[in-house]
C-alpha cells in the first residue's frame, strides 16, 4: 500500500482509476496553495474497487496536529465527486511518518518560486540539524538567519535574508 504512490495508475480498469488518481493528485494544499498534496508527499495511495467503483484514498499528515487535514479530506471528496467518483473514502495513516524528503522536485521548485525556501534533506535519524545554510528564495543569498523556528503553519519556520532584508518562510526539514 505504501508504495502505491509510485505505482503505475493504469490497471485492468485503467481509465477510471487514472482519472480518480489524477483528480486527487490535483488537490492543492489548503495552507500552501502553490503545491498539490501529491507534490507535498502526503498522498499515499488512491485505490479504486473495480466492482463497486468505490475509491479509497490514503493520506498522511505532515504534523500530528495539522489543522488542515479536515479541509484536505473535504477537498479530496469534492474533487472525486467532480470527476465522477461520488463514492469515496479518505483514510489517514501515520506510518511511515511523513518526511520533507517526500516533497517532489517539482514541488520544491514551486515552493521556491512562491517565496518559501524548500527544506534541506533530512539528516540522520532522530537528530534535528539546524546548521545548514538556507538560501533566500528572493535573491538566492545564503546570508540568512532564523527569526523563529516556528512559523505561520506547523511545517514552516520564519527566516530573514541579511542580503536583501526580506523575511521568508522556510519549510522545516522533518
Amino acid at each position: 500500500m505504501v508504495s502505491a504512490r509510485s505505482a503505475s495508475p493504469t490497471t485492468a480498469n485503467g481509465i477510471g482509476r487514472a482519472s480518480a488518481r489524477e483528480a486527487v493528485a490535483g488537490v492543492v494544499d489548503p495552507e500552501i496553495r502553490v503545491i498539490t498534496i501529491d507534490e507535498l508527499g502526503i498522498l499515499r495511495a488512491v485505490e479504486e474497487d473495480p466492482a463497486s467503483g468505490r475509491v479509497t484514498v490514503t493520506i498522511t499528515p505532515t504534523y500530528t496536529g495539522c489543522p488542515a487535514m479536515d479541509v484536505i479530506r473535504a477537498d479530496i471528496r469534492r474533487a472525486l465527486a467532480a470527476a465522477g467518483h461520488p463514492d469515496a473514502e479518505v483514510r489517514t495513516v501515520y506510518s511511515p511518518p511523513w518526511s520533507t524528503d517526500w516533497i517532489s522536485e517539482g514541488g520544491r521548485a514551486k515552493l521556491a518560486a512562491a517565496g518559501i525556501a524548500p527544506p534541506a534533506p533530512v539528516p540522520a535519524a532522530g537528530v534535528v540539524s539546524l546548521t545548514l545554510a538556507v538560501r533566500c528564495p528572493q535573491c538566492g543569498s545564503p546570508e540568512t538567519e532564523q527569526v523563529s523556528r516556528f512559523g505561520s503553519t506547523a511545517c514552516k519556520a520564519l527566516w530573514r535574508c541579511r542580503s536583501c532584508s526580506e523575511p521568508f518562510d522556510h519549510l522545516k526539514a522533518l
Partner: protein
Amino acid sequence: MNGPFDFTLALADDALVAAQRLAEWTTRAPEMEEDIALANIALDQLGAARLLLSYAGELEGAGRDEDALAYLRDDREFRNALLVELPNGDFAVTMAKLFFLAAYQLPLYTALAACADERLAAIGAKARKESAYHLDHGALWVKRLGDGTEESHRRMQAAVDHVWPYTHELFAADPAAPVDPATLRPAFVEVVGPVLAEATLTQPDSAWAPAGGRAGVHTEHLAYVLAEMQVLHRAHPGANW
C-alpha cells in the same frame, strides 16, 4: 498502572494537558514569534493527544472516542503527570516545564517507535520528530535565560527549582508497560545535565518527589484546566462547527 490502556491514556493526558496549558499563552507571549512558537508546540501536543486518545478508546473497547475521553472525564479519571498541570507561572516556569517535558517525551516516543505495539510505534515515530523541535526550543530558552542577565538567571533558577521535583513522577517504574518509563531516565539526565550546566544553572538535588497524577490524584490546578477545556462540550453535547 496496568496494561496498554492505562499506559496510552497516561501519555495522551500528558500531551492534552500540556497542549491546554501552552495554549493559554496565545496572544500573551512576550513576543510575537514566541506566541507562534508556543501555539505550534501546543498544536503538536494536541495532535499526539488525539491519536493517543483515539487509540486508548479502542483499547478500552467501551465505545469512548477521543472526544468522550477528553471532554467527559473528571479530574480523578485523568492520568497525566502533575508536571503538565502546574500553572504556567512566569515565562521561565513555562520554559522549565517545556524543556523537562520534551527531554522526557523525546526518548519516550523514540522507544515507543521501536515497541511491539504497531499503533503506538507509528504514533511514536511521528511524534518524536516534533519532540526534537520542542526540546531544541526549550533548551534554547533555558540557556538564554539562565546565562542571561542577573534577573533572568535568578528567575530561571527559581523555575528549575520549582519544577524539578515534578520530573521524578515521569520515570516511575512500570515494567509491564510497552515502554517502562524508568528506562528513560538515563536519556533524560544526559540531555538535561549539559543544558543546565551551559545555562550556568544548578541542577537541584531535592529528594522531594510529588506524584499521584498517574493514579488520578492531582493538584488543585487540574480541575480548573479541565473546567475551561470541557465547558463548551458539556454545555452543548454533540455540538459541531
